[in-house]
Subunit: 410 residues, 4 copies
């Protein structure tokens, strides 16, 4: 048992942190202010591309990709501290080409894409030249049960025809978003987990329409955002189905595992940022003759936040390590962090908001925005309740629970 | 002991509910949509004035004011179910001229204002012709300790000169906002609770400047909103000081008591609305072959929400009754509801959001906005921690705790 | 709406409190110490009978019984503050002949018993001359589902024959326990709620055997205690069935409602006692140069306890009032307090234990014992989860949830 | 980063688990029953010595001691899974000579004892021939602040004279307890952390009197138990002071660190045991036509327990590793687990009790006893609040909080 990060991870972390402190942090506030002041926030401001170029030059690029040729070749457990560091900032992930949903989409194309799909989409995505979106959740059904999905990807000769409506398609608002991955029902008669397909959809295909951009807790999250997207008689070559028809659940499983771990890694950083702000505010602001950290239960809350973050980080690191090791219990571990981490982050950030008083609710601090991110992740990629269900099923199965069925009546 | 509302309260509640169902509810969604779609939301749309006229005609007007000549003449405990009913909606309070901060400001003028102040400001406020703001919290100090206040209201001959900066001045964005009540330091040498004054400030007085409108959890709450307001050498006749110099704490105490109770009453309604939505969603949406209410711990959460709301309502009703009865423990009771109710509402609404999935975070349902309201009220009018401090002090005082002081050293 | 207790309740409360302070409290600690020091604690020490005689003489007797001839004739809402006051002490309920399970058993006999049953059992119970037990829960099945019950009460000619095993039969260890009420299955073919009967069983009937006394969180709760009792071919006249065969669910419903309310009333008093001890300890014990109440989050915890108790008390009072008024939602209210109050009490007492340090876990303070009582009541008379189920069902039924059934397959 | 246990730890764990399953588990229930049925439980029943001999023969002995000559020579992080495994049982730690307070006392003697002290006390302790007690906490002061300590260890020529009263002296009731380590004030004029001494006290020294055995949540924890012990003019050679006068805080720090980690390791095992019982009960008991695990929120609670245990275990492992590595933040880590783990265990066990219904509160399952152990450890070795204070102080110190002091008055 060894809790030390690899030398490589330590080195990258040190360089990434330095880059963030020297380049990203000073640029972030002016950037966000400019974005908020614009009538049209669906833009890429020049500073983003400048910082991306710097990150690429410094080798702080595509850190998420385990493939050593195309990406940084890091294990998940090595990537974790880097993702945490990026998670402290709203823009740092994008600067290093490590932001959702691109990372997941790149992994899908890397693992399951055809050579042509790789050439056309993966290469520019890895270069940070284009962005992408992922279209899975639907407005009209409970998406917590993926088998509910009603959108269609019907095979018609050598074409696949897309019809349906998706929402929470993250990234669709980005000016550089040029490609979508769309998941839908192909064969209702196949078995439950082989009915659906994933299709690569060029953003400008006729019939693809962004109906509106959705606020999440009233944040539009521009310029990426979350869209409601309709697909009306969208026709594409059948080759655009990734890995062939009926493979969507297999691919989704592969995509969502690391994606969830990445989200959780970043949330650890977000929670750390909130705790740091709480401590700084708590020691610099005076009320009733004392720094407010010394009032009431504030110190206990700070201690509880420290404990909660540390526990959650270790659970994430272990889950990442289990993925690296192909540990048989890794999916259970991913569900566990998916429950534990967003809830922890939501609570820590809420505490930090409270300690900031009215300022904590304003946009003078990044706390309101951070809270919305954490809150969203209790729903995105499977709500808490679904993951708790997975964990409980696996726990009970140790004692034979899977075998029970209700007694026959009569 | 009798848990029945008075006949008058029941009658008004029945009529108010009917008015809401028939007139307000159908108008609310289109109104909010129109407001959100506008570039400039700082407007009064015609539907609001139409509904106000109807409410006035029906006698559903100024329900908050205990004075029977100027208002409805209800006891607080009678007003409670009406405020709860209005709290279910974003606009209903305004329609019945019962929205913060006007209610508190009207009470201040009613109780402490001069005849001239009443003529000039109270009369049009009661008529719903103008709106008002309350300027107390400051950006640069921890306002949880009101004695921290740094803004000035200096007496200079027969003038009072205002200098300082306030924020979270709710209502300042409203086109009809014509008057501000400003609280500031007048005499630093007076005893702790007689240093401050409250001043009536016409909105258009030179030197009053709204620096910006503040988002609360990214909601601007237009058209009223929350402003950051600077006061620079604002000169007014000394008669504009309400009740004379040094009376601000006395007045604030009188103002904030009922104000907090009103907020809590409305939050009960907001939580009920959220629970209703959760139940409706939970019974109409299907996942894994069942209505989602029947999955996992959802039913237990619904039960816990029902219990939490009922307990909180009773505590609010009792606090209102204690104010009506001038009960000696009434300030303790107000602090108790100020802690209990916003926390309860925040949790119930968060649960409802979770049950709605992604939709719960969007603005397709009023839940994200409701959450922001409940969250704000854990800070507005005194943060949880300050009120817990009051409650604990009173509790410990029963056992002589007030008497302890640290032993003399040496 | 009126939160004042009736004059009668106030008068009784004042007299009861005085009696407790002057007579019961001074006797309680020596009594408990003597009981704990005995090898055989299954005894009635003389002080108990002395205090009972005094209570009877003062009219502080049978306060629970709504019947004005046989008991005090109080409404439930009037009895509540008296039960709360008794709940502060371990022995006060017994002193006033108001302790479980006798109160419930007396109500059953009063409401459903034959004249002969009343003469033989109710009269001496009301006189405090004998005690009783209630035998419902079974060791071998999940008793949360009462229809699981396996014990038998089979009619054989003019006899009813009892066979089965019960546990958590509270009061069975008491030397004066002379009568049991036993609930069991009579007719498996009847509809679900008419299969069971309640039988009056003289304690010394052949075949009734107390197998062992059960500790609850290691407290034996002598001299009443909780027994595991076997019934082997116990034969009694069929007249011993209360209200006739198949009436057990009807009777249980009537019995458990007020019984649960009484438990909750007493728990309010227990929690108040714990909070008082916490405040006294917190203000008298010094650590790090301050009274421990002033350290860390202790004051916030005291405030939260105050709020929690007050909310719970109001919910109990309202439930009691609803029973008095035969309010249609009264069973819902009883389930709500049955969840809310024991959980609240468990938490408040746990907080008080923590504030007492090691002493809190010892028997030098009544906190460990109080905790065990509160903990038990999260299971006794229906576990939390069953009551939450009831509440959720009723809540969802408002929106038509009762009507949903799974779609027909094929 | 590597989450695999060393081969040595894995091997020992496998052998220890096998030994527990084959030898300890079958013996435990009959042993506990016999102990409970005895009038005098302060005995060593033969089975204990038999199992100790077997463990010693198998090399499953003194596993806690990092010294490879005298003990197993394991790192703390290697010992962790073994301590967890022992923690599942009430007797397993004793069987392997790894039970508190002996482990801590042996470490003190090993690290700070004179050769004579080692010969006389450490050797037979390591052999499992004698037991020991640790006398630190006092009844009359808040022991959470160790500097409060009032007991005396006064140097009088070549003697040290002990006067004072201690309680919660764990192990003092054991028939084999032959030695006490006593901590008390020697020099009130020395600096705060050099006033106290630790003294080795033979159990039979005149003036040492066990006043009573204390129940913890009504468990006596025989045959070791927890005593209240008076020391009256107890005279011993000054050489009995371990490490010389004034060294007690230094020694306590060394003693309590690993001791707290061991407690936490064992609690992980206790919580796992409780969760296993909950799952077994939840899948085998039927109510309302389903295994009770499938009712209400039970599955979610099981999932939450799994997450909570896993997080806590990782935090303990990391703390153990930090001690092994002499990591500068190790004391912070120890405080963190000391808060997190007992609270987690208390909650998990409470959940398991609830799922067992009445049985969970009885002694038919080890849950009530386990709960009492977990509850005790929120107080023993420093209450939650003190450890939270340490954590918060260190957290805030990162941002300069240590430097703040109240402004000079005048």
């Amino acid at each position: 048992m060894d809790f030390t990060h690899s030398e490589r991870a330590q080195d990258l972390l040190q360089r990434l942190t330095q880059f963030h402190e020297q380049e990203v942090a000073p640029a972030e506030e002016p950037y966000l202010r400019e974005l908020m002041d614009r009538d049209d926030p669906w833009v890429v401001l020049p500073v983003i591309e400048e910082l991306k170029a710097k990150a690429k030059a410094l080798g702080l690029w595509n850190l998420f990709l385990p493939d050593a040729t195309l990406g940084a070749g890091l294990k998940n457990v090595e990537y974790a501290p880097l993702a945490e560091q990026m998670g402290r900032s709203i823009i740092a992930s994008e600067i290093s080409n490590c932001s959702a949903p691109d990372t997941g989409n790149m992994e899908v194309l890397h693992l399951f894409g055809s050579d042509e799909q790789k050439d056309r989409w993966l290469t520019p995505l890895l270069a940070g030249e284009i962005r992408s979106a992922f279209c899975m959740t639907e407005p009209d059904v409970a998406s917590s049960d993926a088998t509910n999905m009603e959108a269609r990807a019907t095979i018609d000769g050598d074409e696949v025809v897309l019809d349906g409506r998706k929402w929470w398609s993250t990234g669709i608002g980005h000016p550089n978003c040029e490609v979508l991955i769309y998941m839908a029902l192909t064969d209702p008669d196949a078995d439950r987990y082989h009915r659906h397909s994933m299709v690569v959809v060029p953003r400008d295909t006729p019939g693809v329409n962004v109906e509106r951009m959705l606020p999440a807790m009233n944040f539009l999250d521009a310029p990426g955002g979350h869209g409601e997207v309709s697909f009306t008689d969208v026709r594409l070559p059948v080759e655009n189905i990734i890995g062939g028809p009926g493979q969507a659940f297999t691919i989704a499983q592969a995509r969502l595992g690391p994606g969830r771990v990445h989200h959780c890694m970043r949330l650890i950083g977000l929670a750390e940022m909130a705790l740091e702000l709480a401590c700084r505010r708590g020691t610099s602001r005076i009320a009733f003759g004392k720094p407010i950290a010394n009032l009431g239960g504030n110190r206990e809350r700070i201690a509880d936040a420290r404990i909660a973050i540390n526990q959650a980080r270790l659970l994430v690191l272990q889950a990442a390590w289990m993925i690296d090791e192909r540990h048989p219990d890794m999916l259970n571990a991913v569900s566990q962090i998916k429950v534990a981490v967003p809830n922890m982050a939501q609570q820590v950030i809420d505490m930090a908001i409270q300690l900031h008083g009215g300022g904590g609710m304003s946009n003078d601090f990044p706390l309101a925005g951070a809270w919305a991110v954490a809150r969203s992740l209790r729903l995105a990629d499977g709500p808490d309740e679904v993951h708790r269900g997975v964990i409980a099923r696996l726990e009970l199965a140790k004692y034979g629970a899977g075998k029970w069925s209700p007694p026959a009546k009569g």
